[in-house]
């Protein structure tokens, strides 16, 4: 059998990133000052960003596809890594986690995400998922001497391994029923057979595995502990990247492979989405640690994004994608502030911030209101878009449930604002501004307002 050498053009971005990550590991031995590696990482991400538009096409016998959908998600992953590196520069040094592997792992993890977004076959999907997940487990535990960081890594690893197992089990059942792992072929098979109990079981297992990755309830248990324990820059990275990758595969798998089982997966996802919004928003109210609060908030946001998938239309999927992009900016912004403030991680540490650091407080205020979804910030556009798609698909009741939870979420975001503006200062806030951190903040806040006022800057923000 003669296998022709595959066309590598569609995979160029991934190849560049992989080579760079490997080279970075070697360069790590040469440079004492790890800041160089950080700038190399950003440059590599920028180069990859540049090659993205030229990579359209499919290869490896159709297992790997680079289309607008995957390119859009890769854009989010690259923004994610660039912003994360910008906010981590000095921070990881302070945390005594200034290892060269930090950047290399981040690149590997991003490659994994990119593979997931481009996968059109369960094997590639699984490869990407594991590459992403394993790198992230290590990143979570990169503060080697910190027991909490270690705990986070172990917890993340155990639950992640569990979800990978579920995914594999689902894939193997699916393979048993359809004798293929290719999305398009599965879809074609399903068209003929319709849904059978075996297929439904496989679909549910796969949905559960993805739910772990996006931290949807009831598979969210790992998120708050891992978010709290991991270094804040890694938390920021994790709260956007793997979540976006999870949504990328959900949007791909359910809209292609399981297209004919829409009724089945919709009913599963509706339950998950409602639970996710409820638990995320309600438990966030009880948090006193800002990282835990943001963890629950990110759980809740996964719930809103699932609504776009539930709508089951192309419009809904695009609404989810838009939301993901917006979420990346506002969430990164919020975490950048958490890193900027050296005072502590309790919400009460923000008391009186508006007096000592008016600008920092104002920025945090913008991110909090954006996460709540108040115009004219980007958060509102994201929610509006989701609700519009949902209502158009006929789920008015679900939209009402979602807006109510969204109103509840105002309570805990407002609490941060309240502490900053309406409480007296307990101690002078120390901040650690660095040029790169300020740059990341400036980018985030600018995007929050630009998207909020001129949403058409996001590609894909259009109705069909």
């Amino acid at each position: 059998m003669n296998i022709p050498f595959p066309d590598l053009t569609p995979a160029t971005p991934e190849i560049i990133m992989t080579i760079a990550a490997t080279v970075l590991l070697i360069l790590d031995l040469l440079f004492k000052e790890k800041g160089v590696l950080a700038f190399l990482t950003i440059s590599v991400a920028a180069v990859t960003l540049y090659t993205l538009p030229m990579s359209a096409g499919e290869t490896f016998g159709g297992m790997f596809i680079s289309d607008t959908y995957s390119t859009y998600f890769k854009l989010i992953f690259l923004i994610n890594i660039i912003l994360t590196v910008l906010i981590s520069l000095k921070y990881i040094k302070r945390q005594q986690a200034d290892y060269g592997e930090y950047y290399s792992l981040m690149l590997f993890s991003t490659v994994g995400m990119m593979l997931m977004a481009s996968a059109r076959d369960f094997i590639i999907l699984y490869l990407g998922l594991e590459l992403m997940a394993l790198s992230t487990y290590v990143l979570a535990g990169i503060k080697r001497h910190d027991i909490k960081s270690n705990e986070a890594a172990i917890k993340y690893f155990l639950l992640g391994a569990f979800s990978s197992a579920l995914l594999l089990y689902g894939i193997s059942l699916l393979y048993g029923a359809t004798t293929t792992t290719d999305f398009t072929k599965i879809a074609a098979q399903l068209q003929q057979t319709g849904s059978t109990p075996l297929l439904t079981l496989a679909m549910i297992l796969i949905a559960v595995a993805f739910s772990f990755k996006i931290a949807a309830v009831p598979f969210h248990m790992w998120a708050p502990d891992v978010y709290e324990g991991a270094p804040t820059s890694v938390t920021a990275f994790m709260s956007v990247g793997p979540k976006a990758a999870g949504f990328a595969v959900i949007g791909r798998v359910f809209f292609s492979a399981f297209q004919n089982m829409q009724a089945d997966w919709t009913s599963v996802l509706i339950g998950i989405a409602i639970l996710t919004m409820a638990v995320g928003n309600i438990l966030a109210i009880a948090q006193t640690n800002i990282k835990r609060m943001l963890a629950y908030s990110s759980i809740a946001h996964a719930g809103y994004m699932l609504l776009g998938i539930i709508a089951g239309t192309e419009e809904g999927r695009q609404a989810m994608m838009t939301y993901m992009m917006i979420y990346a900016f506002m969430n990164m912004g919020a975490f950048a502030i958490v890193i900027l403030l050296d005072k502590g991680e309790e919400i009460s540490d923000y008391e009186g911030l508006s007096k000592s650091r008016p600008l920092v407080a104002a920025l945090m205020l913008v991110f909090m209101f954006s996460l709540t979804g108040i115009p004219p910030t980007a958060g509102f556009i994201g929610k509006f878009n989701i609700f519009m798609a949902l209502i158009r698909a006929g789920y008015v009741w679900l939209a009402i449930v979602a807006v109510i939870f969204s109103a509840i979420s105002a309570y805990y975001y407002l609490r941060v604002v309240r502490n900053m503006y309406m409480k007296e200062m307990t101690a002078e806030a120390a901040i650690n501004p660095t040029p790169t951190l300020s740059l990341a903040l400036a980018i985030s806040v600018a995007m929050v307002f630009v998207i909020g006022i001129v949403p058409s800057v996001i590609p894909f923000i259009k109705l069909v």
């Binding site: 108040i374 115009p375 509102f380 519009m388 309570y411 309406m422 058409s456």
Partner: protein, 503 residues
């Protein structure tokens, strides 16, 4: 008209707020003078709206329209008609007074205060001018942020609770309206154009659902019984400027929403639901008034009187006849002037005594005679004494109310009687009787304070004697609105049944 007046009036304060935010915190004088200058400039720029307004037409005037987000069919469309133009003017006027009354009383984070105040002004004017439902919603929600800060940062002892309560109440109402807006959008052929919606006929059942979705947002803002509970807290705890904006303009946005959206877009549902709305209004009138009798806090009393007065406004609006609606609109303006004036007055005395308890006052008229006279004007206007603006508004509303339903008219009238009782009793307790030591020795109003209150005193009397100046603005628009509400299709069987059930 050589410049886009409405955009200027909306964005000048917003740009000003950013400018102030960039200033150095230590330079308080510069901040205050910039805020004053900007608010006065905004007012003067809005005056052409008053002078060049064409009173003969119900069409939108001073319109501006640009594509904004074409893929969603969203336009940046502004315009005013006889219903909204007066509110724009009221907003620009009251903002100046808010700046002057806060001149010495806001000492903490002055920069943020004036920035928030100007942001609120821009957003409020935006609400009254938007002709695109999406744009309207942006302004409607955006205003919550600075208002939340105004109450929560510079308010009284219980300010944090009041601010969060205000925010959450309004937000829940607004997001339900958002769902309604999207449903309306999908049923209007994917357009947020308000004028297009006014010319579309929606199925009755849809109208009914949408009416309640919009009701959720507007009723909270007005506030109508039973969702009024945020108002006493917010008004009481807000700083003087915040109370003036809340009472003067913000709560008018709810009633304005009914006039601009619920009625012309959902005429049949409005007609079907008008008895329910009138009953809720009358409950608010009487309930608010009775509660006032038991208040021991000056600001809280005025806050509850707002519930009662806004009950009159919604009663007039949902009477669905010319007198009622004109009276309702006029009374909104009046209430803005009078309650705004009362809050300013309370703020002035509070700056001296630092107490809001009625029991801490007494004999104020002996110590501060000029102040007492100014307060008297607003008290009488609040009661509705002939010769003041309150009389004209309430008279028209009662006329409209009687025409629509006699029992409602009678019940509403009792509200006026109780109103006279609580206001006069308040005046007696604060200004007459023995001089309370806490009032003793304070100086009378100074020039800045007189300048702050006098414009409103003049307005009280002017509207009281020449109401036609304001009424003539709204004639055409109100007539147009009534035609729209009363001619759109006859109520169907379902509506009758629903009304039976509710009754």
């Amino acid at each position: 008209m050589s410049y886009p007046i409405l955009s200027t009036v909306i964005f000048l304060p917003i740009v000003g707020a950013l400018l102030i935010f960039l200033m150095s915190r230590s330079n308080e004088a510069l901040i205050k003078w910039t805020a004053l200058l900007l608010s006065v400039l905004t007012f003067f720029l809005s005056v052409p709206l008053f002078l060049d307004f064409d009173k003969t037409t119900a069409n939108m005037q001073f319109t501006e329209s640009y594509q904004w987000i074409p893929s969603w069919g969203i336009k940046y469309a502004l315009g005013v008609d006889g219903i909204s133009v007066l509110f724009v003017l009221l907003s620009t006027l009251l903002t100046i007074l808010c700046v002057t009354v806060s001149w010495n009383s806001i000492k903490d984070r002055t920069k943020e205060f004036y920035a928030a105040l100007l942001l609120t002004e821009g957003a409020m004017i935006g609400v009254f001018c938007s002709l695109d439902l999406f744009l309207f919603y942006i302004f409607w929600e955006a205003m919550l942020i600075p208002m939340f800060l105004l109450i929560g940062v510079w308010g009284g002892p219980n300010r944090v609770y009041a601010a969060i309560k205000f925010f959450l109440f309004t937000l829940v109402g607004s997001v339900l309206m958002l769902v309604g807006i999207i449903v309306l959008y999908l049923n209007t052929g994917r357009s947020f154009d308000i004028l297009q919606m006014m010319n579309t006929t929606y199925p009755f059942n849809l109208q009914l659902i949408l009416f309640w979705a919009f009701f959720a947002a507007f009723a909270v803002k007005v506030p109508m019984f039973p969702v009024h509970t945020w108002l006493p807290d917010a008004h009481t705890e807000a700083p003087t400027a915040g109370s003036v904006i809340l009472a003067g303009i913000l709560i008018k946005m709810g009633a304005y929403g009914f006039l601009r959206f619920s009625m012309p877009i959902l005429p049949e549902a409005t007609r079907a639901m008008s008895p329910v709305m009138m009953i809720l209004s009358v409950i608010a009138i009487i309930y608010g008034a009775v509660i006032c009798l038991g208040q021991t806090d000056l600001k809280r009393l005025i806050a509850y009187s707002s519930v009662s007065h806004m009950g009159f406004v919604t009663l007039g609006i949902f009477a669905l006849n010319t007198q009622g609606i004109q009276g309702g609109i006029l009374q909104m303006i009046n209430h803005g002037i009078v309650t705004g004036g009362l809050f300013l007055c309370v703020g002035i005395i509070y700056d001296r005594t630092h107490t809001r308890k009625i029991a801490d006052y007494g004999g104020t008229a002996t110590v501060l005679p000029i102040y007492a006279a100014l307060f008297m004007v607003f008290t009488l206007a609040s009661i509705g004494l002939p010769g003041t603006n309150g009389f004209i508004g309430e008279f028209l509303i009662l006329l409209g109310g009687f025409t629509a339903s006699k029992p409602m008219g009678v019940l509403a009238s009792t509200g006026i009687i109780i109103g006279a009782a609580y206001m006069l009793w308040l005046y007696q307790r604060v200004f007459f009787m023995e001089v309370n030591p806490k009032v003793q020795g304070h100086p009378d109003v100074n020039f800045r304070e007189i300048l702050t209150v006098v414009p409103l005193v003049l307005l009280v009397l002017y509207v009281g004697f020449y109401p036609n100046t304001l009424l003539s603005f709204m004639d055409a628009s109100v007539q147009n609105l009534i035609n729209r509400v009363s001619t759109a299709g006859q109520p169907q069987q379902v509506a009758q049944q629903i009304i039976e059930v509710i009754k």
